[in-house]
């Protein structure tokens, strides 16, 4: 599996979030809240998790989903996962 930089991870996740929530990616910030700002519900949340799992070839246990309430937290979560697997440049 290829290695990624933190910047690439952030860019990819922003693209995924923008597509799922139909928003302009340039308007997303680390502080963007999934529920309050993007209107995330159970359906879009599971969709987001699945897209991230597929894009980065990681597994996100259900109990970790609730811990990531903002875009910044989600990005950091993926970065930490990839780092633990030796897949972060």
């Amino acid at each position: 599996m290829s290695t990624l930089t933190a910047g690439e991870v952030e860019k990819r996740i922003k693209e995924i979030v923008a597509r799922i929530y139909r928003v302009d990616p340039s308007k997303l910030t680390p502080q963007t809240r999934f529920i309050e700002d993007l209107g995330a519900d159970s359906v879009t949340t599971i969709e987001l998790v699945a897209e991230i799992e597929d894009a980065f070839k990681i597994q996100v246990p259900d109990e970790d989903v609730e811990k990531n309430q903002t875009l910044g937290q989600a990005i950091q979560y993926v970065i930490d996962k990839l780092k633990a697997e030796g897949r972060l440049k």
């Binding site: 799922i20 969709e47 699945a50 799992e53 597929d54």
Partner: protein, 427 residues
């Protein structure tokens, strides 16, 4: 007949039965009471060694399902009868001469070849052997109907039920049939198996054809079953269900509401009200309450079905949905005329559905996505199977992982189309 091998083969056209044949060989499709395989094995396989040819990625699941058969192997050298797995065999009398290629139009139906002829090709892939023999041996026309598309199975279902009823060789009521069950028509055209049960005020109508109620099946009160119909082992027909002519339920299904001229392969639920007509439903499908499919367009014009994403004219005004294994629909889902739903999809379409939903996607209120992803879809599959005492085995998991990758490009293409709001699929 001398001892020989009988090899059911796929000839490349099995992909036109997707998504139904993504998870099974084409001869495992059901038409009538049984699968095509059961009919062909019964007709040609007695005293013979049966071999099954299919796509490589199905090898492990086929070996698991049929431990007594060779899969993708001919084993020891022998005389061989190759039989096309798409054959809707209905008892045709075939003269198995020494060696020849039986054709129907330009399609190979069967090839009978002696060991001495086959041995020079032994060891080649089975499709290669079939090709070489078809070029070497003389041809003769045989009377045979090969299914070309999934809806052909639905169209052939009524006559195949009649054939299977005669082939079954059993008649009469042997199960627990409570008082006030009415049989309308010839009582000799009903078979109620010894462990089947029919509750009071159910009606069985054999005026148009036979009705089979198989072992462990239950028909609840106020259900109406019109023949020809076949209710499989362990299947429940719920209270008040309206089962119209030409319906087959395989094993361990739940059938409620209204069904007509459809096939539910097995282990699937349509518990509640809603209409299912001229449809083929795979295994482990759950159709939520009030899920309804259209099988007739409002202008009575020819139904077009998207097979592998390409429009195919059916030549018929009555075609319902083709639903792959492990699909779930929400309450109140409305399926457009001739809709195809791929494997493991989750469909919430309270507005009319698109006509093609690619495998492993979620269609939720106008939006197509990857949904919960394969890992969670497999977990749901495991849960549903567990409720019926079945396990999701390793070969099955590997198959779905393979299919997920096989369908990735198509899925991403359609998700992109929906994202751009470019997909309409109204025709």
């Amino acid at each position: 007949m001398e001892r020989m091998k009988v090899c059911l083969f796929e000839d490349g056209k099995e992909v036109d039965f997707f998504p139904l044949t993504m998870t099974r060989a084409v001869y495992e499709l059901r038409c009538g009471r049984t699968t095509l395989l059961e009919k062909l094995a019964d007709a040609f396989g007695k005293g013979a060694e049966v071999c099954l040819h299919s796509r490589d990625y199905l090898t492990d699941v086929l070996r698991e399902r049929y431990p007594g058969y060779l899969v993708n192997s001919l084993g020891e050298r022998d005389d061989v009868l190759f039989v096309n797995g798409r054959w809707l065999y209905k008892g045709e009398q075939i003269d198995l001469k020494d060696e020849y290629v039986g054709v129907s139009g330009d399609q190979i139906v069967l090839i009978k070849a002696k060991k001495e002829t086959v041995k020079k090709y032994w060891g080649l892939p089975i499709p290669e052997i079939v090709k070489k023999l078809s070029e070497e041996l003389g041809r003769d026309t045989v009377k045979a109907n090969l299914a070309q598309w999934p809806w052909d199975l639905v169209f052939a279902n009524p006559e195949m039920i009649k054939y299977d009823f005669e082939r079954l060789g059993k008649r009469g009521i042997h199960g627990k049939v409570h008082g006030h069950v009415e049989i309308v028509g010839d009582k000799d055209m009903v078979y109620v198996a010894p462990t089947a049960k029919i509750y009071p005020y159910a009606v069985i109508d054999t005026e148009e054809g036979p009705v089979i109620i198989d072992e462990g099946a239950v028909v609840y009160s106020f259900a109406f079953i019109q023949g020809p119909s076949s209710i499989g082992e362990g299947t429940y027909v719920m209270m008040g269900a309206k089962v119209r002519e030409g319906f087959t339920a395989g094993p361990v299904c739940r059938v409620g509401g209204e069904v007509e001229e459809s096939i539910i392969h097995g282990y699937s639920n349509k518990y509640h009200d809603g209409f299912l007509g001229h449809a083929y439903v795979g295994e482990w499908v759950n159709l939520g309450a009030l899920t309804t499919n259209s099988d007739l367009k409002n202008d009575y014009s020819e139904v077009v079905v998207y097979i592998n994403g390409k429009p195919v004219k059916t030549g018929s005004t009555k075609v319902g949905s083709i639903i792959g294994d492990h699909v779930k629909t929400s309450i109140g889902t409305l399926l457009n005329t001739g809709t195809v739903i791929g494997v493991m999809c989750n469909v919430l379409a309270t507005d009319i559905s698109p006509k093609y939903i690619p495998s492993f996607t979620w269609y939720v209120n106008g939006k197509l996505s990857k949904g919960a992803g394969l890992r969670r879809m497999l977990k749901t599959a495991e849960t549903m199977m567990g409720r019926r005492g079945k396990k999701l085995t390793e070969p099955q998991v590997k198959l779905y992982e393979y299919l997920y990758e096989m369908t990735r490009q198509e899925r991403e293409y359609y998700i992109e189309l929906f994202y751009k709001k470019a997909a309409t699929f109204t025709e």
